[in-house]
């Protein structure tokens, strides 16, 4: 558990945040200038907050009242920076071992296993300057992991990469983050990355936390869905593969008490899978449809209806185990008389269900 409760003022900007990040990934989302970098520097021990306390597993890293301020090298926080910051005069192997050599007492993951997970075995004798951006970041992640950290801090690790490189590195990140049982703080300005990797979300604006909690709740609370991207907006839910229909190439997933069908054979039964439901792909019905092509009919209860200024309305439906959002017209919402508490059916075409 990483606990942060700090204040720092620099010029006319002030950061004032308090949160706790448990084991698992907590994303910190904010635009540039929202205080993300200040927060990273404070937690890392590279900038000193004016006031407050930072604790990791009950050990104070910084405590202004008790006069504690551990230097960065003693904090045991592995950091992956946006610009990778590999040492240019050292080989990839020496970079990987840089932290490990200096913390012999620490239990860090197995070198060979990290190299394999990150797919960097063929790069070991090369120098950082001959690596691509994606490769550099993979090495930087390995270097942080191998330094025996008690928490990980990702500072916009993908921001400097193009879409292709991002897509290349995300699976590695996902795999690693599942494996390490550490608090992971993932700082980003990209909601999609946060959705894909994190369970918890902290939304930062002008140095203040405007929303925090489970990822979809925080997204909703912060009103992150703007008019421009609202049609691409949706929710991410955790499901488990239950059965495969190999004849039709479909996967049945257990979500709450329901069965959701998605195209493709996603994984073996029992494997976890993150699903994404775009709000525009979810429809609402008062009765279960008869003789329809829609395979996924999930009974649920309306939690809330948000009507904007435009023609759209956003309906949250609790289907037990997940809260889906349906983007419908205001007229449909009015004609179905949708209101909190109403029993409805959320309809999702199978072809619209995708892995997050």
């Amino acid at each position: 558990m990483l606990e942060v409760d700090i204040r720092r003022r620099a010029g006319d900007f002030s950061l004032d945040v308090a949160f706790a990040a448990p084991v698992g990934v907590t994303a910190v989302l904010g635009r540039s200038g929202s205080g993300k970098s200040t927060l990273v520097a404070a937690v890392a021990g590279l900038a000193r907050p004016d006031l407050g306390r930072i604790a990791l597993d009950q050990t104070a890293l910084f405590d202004s009242a008790a006069g504690v301020n551990l230097p960065a090298r003693k904090r045991r926080i592995g950091i992956v920076f946006q610009e990778s910051r590999l040492f240019p005069h050292l080989s990839v192997r020496s970079n990987l071992l840089f932290g490990r050599r200096r913390r012999r007492d620490a239990t860090s993951p197995d070198l060979d296993q990290v190299i394999e997970t990150l797919g960097i075995g063929h790069l070991l004798s090369r120098r950082p300057r001959s690596l691509s951006g994606g490769e550099k970041q993979r090495v930087a992640i390995g270097r942080a992991l191998l330094s025996g950290p008690r928490a990980l801090l990702f500072d916009e690790p993908l921001a400097a990469l193009d879409a292709e490189r991002k897509a290349e590195i995300l699976p590695f990140l996902e795999a690693l983050i599942q494996e390490v049982a550490l608090p992971v703080l993932y700082v980003t300005h990209a909601l999609e990355e946060a959705r894909r990797l994190a369970r918890g979300l902290i939304v930062l604006e002008s140095g203040r936390i405007v929303a925090a909690g489970a990822i979809e709740e925080a997204v909703a609370a912060a009103g992150l869905a703007t008019a421009g991207d609202r049609l691409l907006d949706g929710v991410t839910v955790d499901a488990v593969v239950a059965e495969l229909d190999e004849r039709y190439g479909l996967t049945g997933l257990a979500l709450g008490g329901h069965r959701v069908w998605a195209p493709g054979l996603i994984g073996a039964p029992g494997a976890p899978a993150r699903l994404r439901f775009l709000a525009r792909d979810v429809a609402v019905a008062l009765d279960p449809p008869q003789r329809s092509s829609v395979r996924n009919v999930l009974p649920g209860v309306v939690r809330g209806v948000k009507r904007g200024d435009g023609p759209y309305a956003s309906v949250s439906i609790d289907v037990g185990g997940a809260v889906l959002r349906a983007e419908i017209t205001r007229r449909a919402a009015a004609e179905l008389d949708l209101a909190p508490g109403r029993v409805v059916y959320a309809l999702v075409k199978s072809v619209a269900v995708s892995r997050a």
């Binding site: 890392a44 021990g45 590279l46 230097p71 960065a72 090298r73 003693k74 904090r75 045991r76 926080i77 592995g78 950091i79 920076f81 610009e83 910051r85 590999l86 040492f87 240019p88 005069h89 840089f98 932290g99 200096r102 913390r103 120098r127 950082p128 300057r129 270097r143 942080a144 330094s147 025996g148």
Partner: protein, 210 residues
């Protein structure tokens, strides 16, 4: 000799000037650069007063460790070191200031202490500058004349430096041919030092370039 012995001191001073924040920094900066702007004869005279047999520092050194500078080759080396020092410090300081502080931060988060950061990151990255500083100081030491002749005179086989020897020969009737040879040696030595440093620096910086 002068170059090798003064390099660690120069690195320390350059570090203090590049990174340190302490009272008297400007004063240190000034003192270090003094030999660059003072007439060399003045520097030599000051050395003579300070490190001569009767000088406060010279006397103490002789009493405690039997080290004598005045009118010995060690004195010539000291004079050369002092005269080359500001050049060396300048070059090293510039290259230290060019080292990316963010890499040092990254090293700290990986568990490196201050000394660890210095030896594993900062100095290797500043190596081309260190080398350039050393070569400059070497060239300066080779050509040093004024301070040396004032401090330790021009004793054959003991304190006669290359320029002093050339000067002596040009003052001697019929010494032109011998002087010419020495001039050629001086040119060859200087050129070799320059070329060697240039090659090394190029190799180093191509290794380091991110």
């Amino acid at each position: 000799m002068a170059t090798v012995a003064s390099l660690p001191v120069a690195v320390l001073v350059a570090l203090a000037l590049a990174r340190g924040r302490f009272p008297g920094k400007t004063l240190l900066d000034g003192v270090v650069h003094l030999p660059l702007v003072l007439p060399p004869v003045v520097t030599g005279y000051l050395l003579l007063i300070g490190f001569g047999r009767r000088g406060p520092i010279g006397e103490a050194l002789e009493a405690c460790c039997g080290v004598v500078f005045s009118f010995r080759w060690t004195g010539a080396a000291l004079a050369a070191a002092i005269m080359g020092f500001p050049l060396m410090v300048r070059a090293i300081r510039l290259s230290l200031e060019a080292v990316d502080r963010r890499l040092e931060d990254a090293a700290a988060t990986l568990g490196a202490g201050r000394a660890g950061v210095l030896f594993a990151v900062t100095l290797p990255l500043a190596l081309p500058g260190l080398l350039a500083g050393a070569v400059l100081a070497f060239a300066k030491a080779l050509g040093e004349f004024g301070a040396t002749i004032t401090f330790v005179s021009n004793i054959p086989g003991e304190t006669r430096t290359l320029p002093a020897a050339i000067y002596t020969l040009t003052q001697t009737p019929g010494g032109d041919a011998a002087a010419g040879k020495l001039v050629l040696i001086a040119i060859a030595l200087s050129l070799a030092a320059l070329i060697a440093s240039e090659l090394l620096a190029r190799r180093l910086s191509s290794r380091i370039a991110g």
